[in-house]
Symmetry: C2
Subunit: 484 residues, 2 copies
């Protein structure tokens, strides 16, 4: 091992490399980026670096390697697992990609756009729409989430059922590796069998194997028709049967299938005075269904979905259903769905879990896990809602009435999450369906993940980041390899 | 390094482990598996091992690691690049997966099947069809190609345009790693962000990182309608314009878009006395278009395609077109397409190249590369045909009239292929679109591939196979790591 020069020498060379806009150690300018947006994690940093180009990122990473300075890559700082927040040693730099925000190219005919890591999702949506096309991934944080962060965390969202996660949108990738070399696989080839698909390794690796600087993303034809429905059901098993029926009847037009239990709908209606229940009566479960087509128009989609739901009603599979009369009403349905977390926070403390199991097992999982948790932690209530079509629900455990915010999470949170994660693992599921591991779940991953898979991850991490400088303490924590 | 025990000791323990059906050293029983099906490569082997279960594979690999015996995994032995043929040292064993041919489960409702590595593609097609569903990947070798081989080579075929390569069909994977541990990621989760997607590393790695023992594959709804058309065009640029138009008009129903130049059609018609040209006049280029739908019936598809082609004809984009009147005629169209290679072999020697470039660049590539090759090698003729929709054509260079088979390939083949590969690389393409690297292209990959990508592949190979025992000499050749 070489000796570690002083931070001052590193900072001088970094400043010379990046210029005044590219580097700051000013506590006030750094403050906003040292805490994650949910305020759960706060760290310290040697500096905030904001390179303006891939070459600057590469030169900076080389400099960090020479000085053994850890790097915490950061996009919009809107992650859910603390993956972009440094630890409290103050030895690492934050490498912000936000200045690299160019859409290098957008070709509607070929159906692809080359975006730098700092491009904000909302910006890409607007650019695609202006070109008469569509980028088929969206999520709540679209106003701040960046392409680099979305790729590095393999983000999901509400259109995964049909279009897949970020992994399915990435046609090509550019990244800076731990030694400062540039991996350029931006050119999209529909067929390429020249060995390992290395970009797949970088997607979802949370900046621990390399720093994504740009991506070639697929664009789809703009939607022609859209139809949204709210359905009342007697049970979650019926919801799965309805999912299969609508999949069969609507084919590739089915884009979203979300489930909402009565408790969540009630909480939202209490939380939003202006909101109204879509259906007359209350139902144990609700399903929010959205179908989109680039060929069929809204009237045609509406006819097909009406026929499908009418048959389901006649069979007694569903209790009631309403199809949104217009975009405003469809919007209102989605507002109900998107307000669940906020509505529950208003009621009291809760432990939230982003978990998945095989799609066909999800109803049985919910029916088994909820009472198990509620009996293990008397007074709690377990509620599951979200992306049934993806086998991914947000499993929230609500505190007993009167529990004190902060205290309750502190005293019960860890035990509750551990048991939820144990159950998910027993059911062959994932303790992180879409939010990633970051620093929040790194210990739980080490505790519960398949040792063979963990061993593979360690081997790959050591091979690609032998000095352990890329986002240390996140996702996979291994000592540097013996031989470097 | 430990000392290497004698082969005899290894063979005794392997025989005890696998039993008489599981191991043979009989030259006659091994002979068929020591040469690839095209007869280009022949090797020698210490033994042919045919384990019956994942546990037997794991135990055998542990034994090989202890005795430092190289392993050449083999499925149907129908690869195109010699990837399943051992070298001539006779130190390696062939590990055949053919005895592991169980379809462990098939769930038409959930749309997935768990197949062991030795399941033959045709067998899976029939099982899926019997269950009222469909496995959406097919290719010429379906009668012998196994699931393990198809996964390990990320196989393509004629439906990639819509359904993607094998990578897109793999929902879960089971593999035995270099140390004999079993990586079990068979349970399919639509969303799982627990770090690196390790199964992606094994897909397409040609047995150099692990041995695929089983895979969970996606099944799609059975087709309801199908329509096939043969189109005459004046040029290859028009073919791309037609592709874009049909993509727009047929949407996700477009499943195949193949191009055939006049020379190839003439060769096939001369080669197959019974074959007839689909169109009255000759055209510089022909396109074979197939659309399939699980919802629209054949009549509806036919109407839509007719409207699309009529508009293209009115615009002068195409010269003529015919839609197959029935399955028999559609079959006849495909026979013309599938007989090109055989027809050209009958004419004389040729150098064949399986290459890809970005879809939107393929016409310009063909127009630039063909004359470049023909002028560099006087008397040759360059013909390109195949999957225009995937940016993947088979680029064949035909020998001058009178060239002697064998001699000509020997004297000119290497120089011709090198120049074709140089051109493809200059155009940002791949020297192996779907056939893989195997031993055939390993030197060309080392010569032409991005050094950064090669370095990553070497690092990953060293990390996952430190002893270098998994399919040595194939795809990526690196010395064992310094520290193991």
């Amino acid at each position: 091992m070489m000796s570690h020069p002083s931070p001052a020498a590193f900072l001088d060379q970094a400043a010379a490399l990046l210029g005044p806009r590219g580097l700051t150690t000013d506590p006030e300018r750094m403050a906003a980026w040292l805490t994650d947006w949910r305020g759960r994690y706060t760290g310290r940093a040697l500096a905030l670096a904001s390179p303006a180009s891939t070459d600057e990122v590469a030169a900076l990473v080389k400099l960090c390697a020479a000085h053994r300075v850890p790097i915490v890559p950061q996009g919009g700082n809107s992650g859910m697992a603390g993956g972009a927040t440094p630890d409290d040693t103050g030895t690492a730099i934050i490498l912000s990609l936000r200045r690299m925000d160019a859409i290098r190219s957008l070709d509607a005919t070929a159906g692809m756009a080359v975006c730098e890591a700092g491009v904000i999702l909302q910006t890409l949506h607007e650019a695609a729409e202006a070109a008469g096309t569509r980028f088929p991934l969206t999520l709540g944080g679209k106003g701040s989430a960046t392409i680099g962060g979305l790729v590095s965390t393999n983000a999901g969202g509400t259109q995964v059922l049909r279009h897949g996660t970020m992994r399915a949108q990435v046609l090509g990738l550019e990244a800076v590796l731990a030694d400062g070399s540039v991996f350029d696989a931006l050119t999209p080839l529909k067929k390429d069998n020249r060995g390992f698909d290395l970009k797949q390794l970088l997607i979802g690796s949370e900046g621990t194997l390399g720093i994504v600087t740009a991506a070639t993303l697929r664009l789809l034809p703009a939607p022609v028709g859209r139809v949204t429905a709210w359905v009342g059901l007697g049970g979650i098993v019926d919801a799965r049967s309805l999912l299969r029926r609508v999949e069969r009847d609507m084919g590739e037009a089915l884009e979203g299938f979300e489930v909402v239990p009565a408790h969540c709908l009630d909480a939202v209606l209490a939380h939003l005075p202006a909101a109204r229940a879509p259906l007359q009566a209350a139902h144990a479960w609700n399903a929010l269904i959205e179908c989109v087509s680039a060929s069929a128009d809204s009237a045609a989609l509406r006819d097909r979905l009406e026929t499908s739901l009418a048959a389901a009603l006649a069979e007694g599979l569903i209790e009631d259903a309403v199809i949104a009369a217009n975009d405003r009403q469809a919007e209102a349905f989605w507002t109900l769905r998107d307000s669940i977390s906020a509505a529950e926070r208003a009621i009291g403390p809760a432990m939230q879990h982003d978990i998945s199991v095989p799609v066909e097992k999800m109803p049985e999982f919910i029916l088994a896990a909820s009472p198990a948790i509620e009996s293990a932690f008397p007074g709690t209530q377990a509620v599951a809602f979200g992306h049934l079509g993806d086998g991914n629900v947000h499993f929230h455990v609500l505190a007993p009435p009167g529990a004190v915010r902060g205290e309750w999470e502190e005293s019960h949170g860890k035990a509750i999450s551990a048991q939820v994660h144990d159950l998910v693992t027993q059911w062959g599921g994932s303790i992180s369906a879409e939010h990633g591991i970051g620093q929040m779940k790194v210990a739980e991953l080490a505790r519960l993940h398949d040792p063979v898979a963990l061993g593979l991850m360690h081997a790959v991490k050591r091979a690609l980041d032998p000095l352990g400088l890329l986002n240390p303490g996140k996702l996979v924590t291994v000592p540097p390899a013996a031989c470097t």
